[in-house]
């Protein structure tokens, strides 16, 4: 398995380089300009100067190579310096965002916590809801529970979050005033009160996203359970005289989770990518919001870096999913 992992990691390097090149070229070629936000009152000559100051005067291969160097060389050095107090980077230019003129990685580091708490939590909650529902609706297939589950998850799947989010805000923030409609990213949790406040501000975004996630995962869970409920070993387990509870929750569940766990692992990069619309609606301002605002502002270094990190996550989680599969399923061997 070690060599399998190593091999895949080695293979990932050219893949990722290629991906980064494609993304870079795509961003280069797509229309729009980092100065789109600059008001029309700014005369063209000044605009030209501003562009030059952003380094946009250089030909693209130069900028691409520079970015590669900054990403793979300067940034790691910088972070080593930061953590170990060394001075390897020697003030080399880091990747700078066009919008804010601040290092891209600093901004990303700022955004990760809220993305992880909100989007990550919603993923966890979604999974926690989805698995029991999946189990039950498979075990009682075609029962009313199953039918309603299917119905609700299809509705959940077909309703865009820009709609459900606003509905929640109108009901719970405007009319009932239970939860805040704006997420406060600066809130520090250090006592019970602030913890409650944090919980309150997470309720709505987490609910919206969790429902969406749960809708999908419960479908997977159900199908996987159905596959396994018909297996021979289930009969063996019953023939041992085990209770239904034990048969389903131990024998069937463990096997059914195998494909679902990989589905979950493959869905994880999306957590880091953020949930763009939900973040917008509740003003969570995580990575999703960062990406979309960077795209709108044509902040190429930011978009490039974010999507590339995202690509790394996709590749890594695909690998993790493969490895998890093997860990969970003793039958899988890596050659």
């Amino acid at each position: 398995m070690l060599s399998f992992t190593l091999r895949r990691l080695l293979l990932a390097i050219p893949t990722l380089l290629f991906i980064s090149l494609v993304i870079f070229l795509l961003l280069e070629a797509s229309p729009g300009d980092p100065l789109g936000d600059v008001p029309l009152t700014v005369p063209p000559e000044v605009r030209e100067r501003m562009r030059a100051a952003l380094g946009l005067g250089e030909p693209w291969p130069v900028r691409y190579l520079l970015w590669l160097k900054q990403f793979f060389w300067v940034e790691p050095l910088y972070w080593t310096d930061r953590w170990f107090g060394t001075d390897f980077s020697q003030g080399a230019q880091r990747i700078i965002s066009f919008q804010s003129r601040s290092p891209v990685f600093d901004v990303i580091a700022q955004r990760i916590p809220q993305t992880l708490t909100v989007v990550g939590m919603s993923y966890v909650v979604g999974i926690l809801i989805a698995i029991p529902i999946g189990i039950l609706s498979a075990y009682k297939q075609y029962s009313w529970f199953d039918q309603i589950g299917t119905f609700i998850s299809m509705i959940g799947f077909s309703m865009p979050t820009f709609f459900t989010g606003v509905v929640l805000i109108i009901i719970f923030a405007v009319n009932l005033q239970w939860f805040p409609s704006v997420y406060n990213t600066t809130l520090e949790v250090n006592d019970w009160d602030s913890f409650l406040q944090q919980v309150r501000q997470m309720v709505m975004p987490v609910t919206v996203l969790a429902l969406y996630n749960a809708a999908q995962i419960s479908r997977f869970m159900r199908s996987s359970m159905l596959d396994n409920l018909g297996q021979d070993y289930v009969r063996t387990a019953r023939a041992k005289g085990l209770s239904e509870r034990k048969v389903v929750l131990k024998h069937v569940l463990r096997n059914s989770l195998i494909p679902v766990v990989t589905v979950i692992a493959l869905g994880l990069p999306a957590v880091f990518g953020g949930a763009i619309i939900t973040e917008q609606v509740f003003r969570v301002n995580g990575l999703g919001q960062l990406l979309i605002s960077a795209i709108h502002a044509n902040d190429i270094p930011m978009v490039l870096t974010l999507t590339f990190i995202f690509a790394i996550l996709i590749v890594v989680f695909t690998l993790i999913a493969d490895i998890l599969y093997g860990v969970l399923d003793p039958r899988i061997r890596y050659d």
Partner: protein, 609 residues
């Protein structure tokens, strides 16, 4: 032994709710089992054997069945006689695994792949005996010893896939035996196993029955196994019991036609002694009387010559995925098949039979050797010529359920090879397909059906029709009848032999069943670890086996005669060693000793003794 039966099934009727209405799985079955007695239930596939046994455990309900009538009286440990059909769920859970144990047919799937053997063993003990975890583990170890698994300590922490089929079946038996039930239900426990392993498992069950005075309900369609195991026999047909009696009565004096037919369909080892050539089986349904003609080829000429065929599979590993080892699946194999004759390859699972057959058609690429079919060197052909050459060689596969595309109608399946080679116009093809259906004795109306609407035997006929569609000179039948139950197997065997007789087709018949091989072949090759260890005419190999492995195989075959019980405890066969070798391993060429003209025995390398 007291005469009070442990179990008595009275007028059992089981129904299934399906989309097309109610299907009756078991119509009216009654029989009893006494303590310490082995009752065998025989019958063809779908006759209701499994459903009856599952009803006893009340497991049919989980498959959508209901016990619609009858009583299932069972004497519990405490002496109380209860009707299992009306017990509550909790009471049944106490009986299942505790007082009745069950062994299933498919050892590959009967165990949960993600739990260790130990885990699965202790579960029942903890549930029924209330043992602590470590106590249960100790007991589990003890049971594994009882079922004579080598290195039982290690097995406890292994996963099912790490065990061989035979060992897995022993684990299943151990699970069933864990709480020392008084009734053991065995549903075709050996059908999927090799003869040698089958012999061992049968011996094990027999020993447990004798030692522990357990009642055994043994389900099978193999009459030879019945003869070896049964005290009494119940014959079932389409959900009904047709006959019941002691083993000797049933074998020597069957009353019902169905029973007679079943018996006739069983090839018995040694039956062919003294016969010059293969003969069809005499089936009750044939209507033909008198002895069938032997299939004698007047002037046999070599059709297929195979020399030094070697096929190896690379095992890749490491970061660069280089070949780290190789499976020597077929190693220096040479043989010849004459036109119109049958060569059989026999051997146990994993010995390379299938690979050998597939290498001939280059469905797997052989590493070296020559394959000469009627003057064409198959190995040297380009992909395009190879396609053309394959018209002369066709295969029939083992699993009739897997070898037909479930999404295609039978007509299309048979038409496909002709379409591939652009043979004939549409109407010509239609005629030919109709003729082929007649040839394999399927009604023409079946053309519009899908494979799943057919029985296994019928499917295998379609596979044969498909193979015949191209008028091949050679058919490679890879375990073509292994998955079929006796009566169907007999029909398909007869069909194959009849076709050979009529069309003069040569056949490479691959099987692990010695009795079948004896019946159908002109020549026999015994394979072991990728090599042919003994080769000769049928008479030479079966009547004068020279190689120790051949002898061992013969010994393991059960005899379809209740008076000749062969099962004994000292039957232990050595497991086949791994054919995997490091890359730099140099395989020695096979050296044979000629015992008699055409009868060769491998002397070097010595792989089995």
């Amino acid at each position: 032994m007291d005469d009070k039966p442990l179990v008595s099934i009275e007028e059992l009727r089981v129904e299934f709710e399906t989309n097309d209405g109610v299907v009756v799985g078991v119509r009216d079955v009654s029989f009893t089992i006494n303590p310490g007695e082995c009752v065998c239930v025989v019958g063809e596939s779908g006759s209701g054997k499994s459903v009856s046994s599952l009803s006893l455990m009340r497991l049919v309900e989980f498959g959508g069945g209901t016990i619609a009538g009858g009583k299932l009286m069972f004497e519990r440990n405490d002496g109380q006689v209860v009707d299992l059909a009306t017990q509550s769920g909790a009471a049944m859970r106490d009986i299942r695994g505790n007082q009745i144990g069950m062994i299933f047919q498919e050892p590959m799937t009967a165990l949960n792949p993600v739990f260790t053997v130990g885990d699965q063993l202790v579960e029942g003990l903890i549930a029924h005996r209330g043992l602590k975890k470590h106590e249960a583990r100790a007991r589990a170890l003890e049971i594994l010893r009882q079922v004579r698994i080598p290195e039982p300590e290690r097995r406890l922490d292994q996963y099912p896939h790490e065990l061989s089929g035979g060992m897995r079946q022993r684990v299943v038996i151990a699970i069933a035996m864990a709480c020392e039930p008084r009734l053991l239900i065995c549903d075709e426990p050996t059908t999927a196993l090799d003869v040698t392993i089958q012999a061992e498992i049968l011996a094990l069950i027999d020993r447990l029955k004798r030692e522990k005075q357990i009642a055994v309900l043994f389900i099978t369609h193999d009459m030879a196994v019945v003869a070896q195991m049964a005290d009494r026999v119940v014959v079932m047909y389409r959900g009904d019991k047709v006959e019941e009696g002691t083993a000797v009565e049933i074998f020597e004096n069957p009353q019902q036609d169905y029973t007679k037919m079943l018996l006739a369909a069983v090839p018995r080892l040694g039956e062919m002694t003294g016969k010059p050539a293969p003969e069809r089986l005499r089936l009750m349904t044939d209507g033909t009387h008198g002895a069938p003609e032997p299939i004698i080829v007047k002037d046999p000429k070599p059709l297929l010559t195979v020399r030094n065929l070697t096929t190896r599979f690379a095992v890749k590993g490491g970061i660069l995925r280089r070949t780290v080892a190789r499976v020597h699946a077929v190693e220096d194999v040479s043989f010849t098949i004459n036109s119109g004759e049958t060569l059989s390859l026999v051997g146990e699972s994993g010995c390379g039979k299938s690979t050998c057959g597939r290498s001939l058609l280059r469905l797997v690429e052989p590493e070296s050797g020559t394959v000469d079919l009627g003057g064409t060197d198959i190995i040297g052909l380009s992909q395009r010529d190879l396609r053309r050459a394959r018209r002369d060689m066709q295969m029939i596969f083992q699993d009739p359920f897997a070898s037909l595309d479930p999404h295609m109608k039978l007509y299309d399946q048979v038409a496909e090879p002709m379409e591939n080679y652009g043979i004939g116009s549409k109407s010509e093809r239609q005629d030919r397909i109709a003729a082929l259906f007649d040839r394999v004795e399927l009604p023409r109306s079946y053309m519009r059906r899908y494979p799943h609407e057919m029985s296994g035997g019928q499917r295998q006929r379609i596979a044969i029709a498909r193979a015949l569609a191209l008028n091949p000179k050679l058919i490679v039948a890879d375990e073509a009848v292994s998955a079929l139950d006796v009566s169907v197997q007999a029909q398909v065997l007869n069909l194959l032999m009849e076709l050979q007789q009529d069309l003069g087709i040569s056949m490479l018949f691959i099987s692990h069943d010695m009795a079948v091989v004896e019946r159908v072949s002109h020549h026999v090759g015994v394979m072991y670890l990728g090599r042919i260890v003994e080769m000769g005419t049928r008479a030479q190999v079966f009547e004068n086996p020279q190689h120790s492995y051949t002898r061992q195989l013969m010994l393991a075959v059960p005899v379809a005669d209740p008076r000749q019980k062969k099962i004994s405890e000292d039957l232990t066969f050595r497991p086949i060693p791994s054919p995997m070798h490091p890359v730099d391993y140099v395989a020695r060429p096979s050296v044979y000793r000629e015992v008699a003209p055409g009868h060769r025995v491998l002397v070097d390398p010595v792989t089995h003794s």
